[in-house]
Symmetry: C2
Subunit: 215 residues, 2 copies
Amino acid sequence: MVEAAMDYIRDPQEIYRESFATIRREADLSGFPGGLGEIAVRVIHACGMVDIVDDLVMTPDAAEAGRAALDNGCAIICDVEMVRHGIMRRLLPNETELLCNVGSEAAAQLAFERETTRSAAAIESLSDRLPGSIVAIGNAPTALFHLLELLDRGLSPPALIVAAPVGFVGAAESKESLIADAGAIPHVVVRGRRGGSAMAASIVNAIAGGLKTCT
Amino acid sequence: MVEAAMDYIRDPQEIYRESFATIRREADLSGFPGGLGEIAVRVIHACGMVDIVDDLVMTPDAAEAGRAALDNGCAIICDVEMVRHGIMRRLLPNETELLCNVGSEAAAQLAFERETTRSAAAIESLSDRLPGSIVAIGNAPTALFHLLELLDRGLSPPALIVAAPVGFVGAAESKESLIADAGAIPHVVVRGRRGGSAMAASIVNAIAGGLKTCT
């Protein structure tokens, strides 16, 4: 069927090195100085699309705010399990908690009461952990909308909001609401319909470890 | 900050319904009859990009082959944990095993011996489970390349290969190798650099449950 000795790169570090070099060659990263550039490279790496930079919006303090929060022992709150499993544990301080409540009975019950999604209810169920945290949303627009509602009701803000919900209903709108109405909170946003768990996780990984890699 | 009562759709079934309707309105699905169309819709839904259909390659028997394998109690073998966590358990037959060895000590040891990635070694470490299985690759080109090598050495084939590795080094090439050299095996491929765990999982979800949803 296939040739016995296929010619491809097997060394993980070499794969990372060549991937990042290709991205830096092809992508215009001039709008993203310092740590923001490392975020942009990792997002491109996660999705295979150089033009995703056109949809990236970051506050200038996003990388520092996220890093400082991690150093202060903040939790990372994820909307779905895929985001949690895309974050590289080894890049984080040992004590960092990676939280996701979407599969919990509490979230299911709260979703029923609020007549909303489990992803949105799961965010509310972690209200006491949200202030000062890093919130990473890679799937559900309703989770981001509901976070904005909680903030509007006076919840103390997270240290950083990573907003990359994906899809056709509410994804673009929820991200524009964040930028327009809660833009003072440090954030990294993937505008438009595109997004996803891998992009959300890659942003956290970039903030936690830059372009250091784990194999 | 934000308006107290935001206007967005909260009902999960309504979100799915409107998402799928938007996709069917915008995407050209004429090349994907029957069950293949449901796969295409779910892939678009997972990534937010209607034009991903241009990169979708499926054998005509892909949906039936995958469904029959699930009905026969096959395992689903994933290259990374994100794929495993994107597959909706409730759409699968109760006994279906969702396997991923990438975090195992066995894969780490084998990767060291073979001088390759843990993702590739993890596939080999499940060699006895591969024949008749569904293999879902959403991250690592080396996992797909190594699967092709194992097949070349005489391993009995999986029932279905879902090939959506992503990125800049080997992703496009590994998928073209599959199509060119192992194309007789039922497959669903996301050509090019694009791909990812969410797309791979969405293909399995489409085969397992069509456009039925779980909230």
